[in-house]
């Protein structure tokens, strides 16, 4: 991953009357990141995305996308951003290719380039067969994909996707997820908000958790988990002597706490990652019959529940 910041937000604040929708929000998204934006309903995710898309002006603070300030150089921002809103409608009496042609023209794509470009994005979103269909006759999932196709027309470097899979059936959700994974491979920088946390965990390398307009935590899922728990959680399955193993682990260097849970022992390890194998070696040397030794997979849902308090839900 590159380390160039593409989205930089510093102290962004937006108020609607007496309600502060976004409160002094600051975080950075680097080039090539798939950045998940997580938070309960009303947390300020959509407001933040709309400000980044230049559809809303912030009350205070600053933000830039691809080096363009969202308040000073909104044309530069718009040229480098593809925005997919959470709820959107489509125009009546217009065909799929005409819809895409309109947006391509609206992004000043030269006329000769448009037919090829439209074919490409239709193929990418698996809508080539619907080219001549009317937009309002498409299913919800197809409209989502069409909107994504529209978002890609001007080849934006940054994609702001607000709940791209909301309201879709499982198949459509899987299709959208696959499409987003394809875009990640294409080295697009993606800021995506979603309530479907397992899917976000599969797609994103970093997340930011927001609640009541304030940033709760930001970073990679593992970093956040480590930050929350104070270390890595090791899951060790043994044939027998579980209690004894837990006591033994409590004395091992780097292990903060160990206890028996169900049919295995869980140990919270705070030592260096490269020394983690020494815990296993010590167990084996002490004569314990180790069946498996693994770092517990971080569960985004459990993290989310621990991080948020349900203030605005």
């Amino acid at each position: 991953m590159g380390a160039t910041p593409v989205i930089e937000i510093q102290g962004l604040t937006k108020r609607f009357g007496k309600i502060t929708a976004v409160d002094n929000l600051s975080f950075t998204v680097e080039r090539g990141d798939a950045f998940g934006f997580v938070g309960p309903n009303g947390a300020g995710k959509t407001t933040t995305m709309r400000m980044l898309a230049t559809l809303l002006a912030p009350d205070s603070g600053a933000a830039s996308v691809n080096g363009c300030d969202i308040t000073e150089d909104y044309e530069g921002v718009r040229a480098s951003v593809g925005y997919m809103p959470d709820f959107f409608g489509v125009y009546d009496d217009i065909k799929v290719w005409e819809y895409l042609d309109f947006f391509a023209a609206a992004y000043r794509v030269p006329r000769p380039r448009r037919p090829g470009l439209i074919s490409d994005v239709l193929e990418l979103t698996d809508l080539s067969g619907k080219r001549e269909d009317y937009v309002d006759a498409l299913s919800r999932g197809m409209k989502q994909r069409l909107c994504l196709a529209k978002t890609l027309l001007h080849d934006p470097e940054v994609l702001l996707l607000d709940e791209p899979a909301a309201g879709l059936d499982p198949r459509a959700r899987i299709e959208i997820r696959a499409l987003l994974q394809e875009l990640v491979k294409m080295d697009k920088t993606i800021l995506v908000s979603s309530h479907i946390l397992p899917e976000l965990a599969e797609l994103c390398n970093k997340i930011a958790v927001i609640e009541a307009g304030k940033l709760v935590m930001a970073g990679s899922v593992k970093e956040i988990a480590a930050g929350l728990e104070g270390g890595r959680r090791l899951v060790i399955a043994l044939v027998d002597r579980l209690e004894e193993a837990a006591q033994f682990l409590n004395g091992c260097p780097g292990v903060v706490a160990a206890e028996v849970r169900d049919e295995h022992v869980e140990a919270l390890y705070q030592g260096a990652h490269e020394d983690q194998h020494k815990v296993l070696s010590a167990l084996v040397r002490a004569g314990f019959s180790v069946q498996s030794f693994a770092e517990q997979e971080t569960n985004l849902e459990s993290l989310y529940m621990r991080l948020t308090e349900g203030i605005v839900s």
Binding site: R50, A53, T54, L55, E75, R78, A79, V81, Y83, P85, F87, F88, G89, V90, Y91, D92, D93, I94, E98, F102, F103, A105, A106, Y107, R108, R111, C147, K150
Partner: protein
Amino acid sequence: MSASSATAQFVRFPFRLVENGSRRVARLASNPVLIRDARALFRGRRIIALQLGYIVLLCLVMGIAAYARYASYAWQSSVGDPGYGRWIFIGIMETQVALLLLASVAYSAGAISLEHEKRTYDMLAITVLSSAEVVFGKIASVTLLCWMLLLTSVPLASFSLTLGGVSPGEIALAYGMLAIKIPLWAAIGVLVSAMLRRSIGSQFVAFTAVGAEFIISIFLSSPLPVGGGMDSHGIFNPTFAAGAGEIDFNFLGAGIPPWLLPIPYAVLLTGLAGVAAAEAMAHHRPRRSALLRTLLLATTFFMTALLAPIAVMATGALPTAGTRGYPGAPGQAIPPAVIASVLLWIYVCMLVPVFSSYPPTRRAAGPRENPLAALLRPDRWLLREAGAAPGYCLLVWVAGLAGIFLVFGLAGFGGIVPTARILSLLDLAPVVLAVFGLSIFAYAFVGAACAVLSGMRRESAIVTALLILALNSCALIYGAGAGVLRTVPRHPALVLSSPAAAVYAFVSGGSRNARWGRFGESDAVLYGLGYSALLIVVALTYFLWRRRPQPTLGDSPGEIAPPPLPPEAAAADASGYATEEQ
């Protein structure tokens, strides 16, 4: 810039103008919003049904009109009656006005509010299209639809030709005037639609606004003097002008073709509504500065368009001005030249300060530099900045004159204006250029001074300049009332128009007429020149006063010196080493 490159640029300028113009026209025609809306509007059975319904309604009206006429006259007499065809024609045109008003407002009033309701607005707003392009596309698509409906009725309206009472020219004029009004109704609809988020509300307000414009435009022209005993209601309202058969009136006694007047009126209001709509879309409510700028530019256009015919007519009227009497005399129409003078004066007063305050504010504005400080720097001498303004104004003025010559040159070719009048206009040009050029120069300095006075804020500069010139007018009127210029009491236009009056007096040969008394031809010229010179002197004095040396860092030893360094820092500086610790 060297002289040769400046010449080369000057030579290339017209070509660049044409090239840019054609590119802009092509861009307007390929407006994405226009193409998308047109695709949606002109597709499928809906448009055929719309056309059919439109024609059927017109046929019904035509049938009812014919029957009503038939019922009130004996058939035998009405067949040969030329009023019979006219009766039907008027019925068709009145119905078309109502239908097209309904159609244009119904389609345009939801143009942007429906985008909000259908949740398509965000995706449209985030594109790189400007709000002006979106608004243009919306207005143009509705206009195209209504023009198409209008065109479908041509065969029907032409039917009245067979019955007599209407000429093909009248039909063409009626259609033209109605076609001009449609973009205005559409623009008002789009404006309301951009300001309100609910389509029901925008429909209601748009219909109210268009209805108000329709009624107001009928009475707007009532005070204007129209010769030939005709009613003036039709000047700004095509229904009355075309539908009611009032297309042969004689505006201002100058024989101006009636089809000429609704054009600037409709274009002015359409432009205003369009810009306000774009502003409302971009900022949720129109910005005051943008509206003011648009109003002034639109007024410029309006004045130029209005001046063009009057100026030409004036050239015909001038030699006979002495025999026509004076304004206010019983039974006498106001000489067109007087009106031209007054209009020119308004034109100069409004236009020149705007443009003269424009270059300094444009160049100096910007977040990185204090504009006033930048202007006071020696390399950006204020006078040089302000000096661009008169040149700019003169350019505009010459372009305006060229436009007048072009319009009436074409009119001359078309036989509308006699060639002799066109040639007499050429005689007038040097005088107008000389005296008005000087006036423009004077006003330009006033505008530039206002730009400085107002801290380089353009809006404030324009308002200040207009206020000063308004006060100037008040002083002149007061002077006339107090007897300062009592020698010409019968000619208030002379007092009002100041330098413009000098031109009028000069070209009309006033001194040879006893009416002018002591205020003769040479006095008028002197008055105009003196007045302009006074303004220039005042403005120059002000600039020179402002131009006194300002302290700037490092310009010379005599100016502000940097504060002395503390001893240890001075020692480090002297030794050539300045460490971070120090």
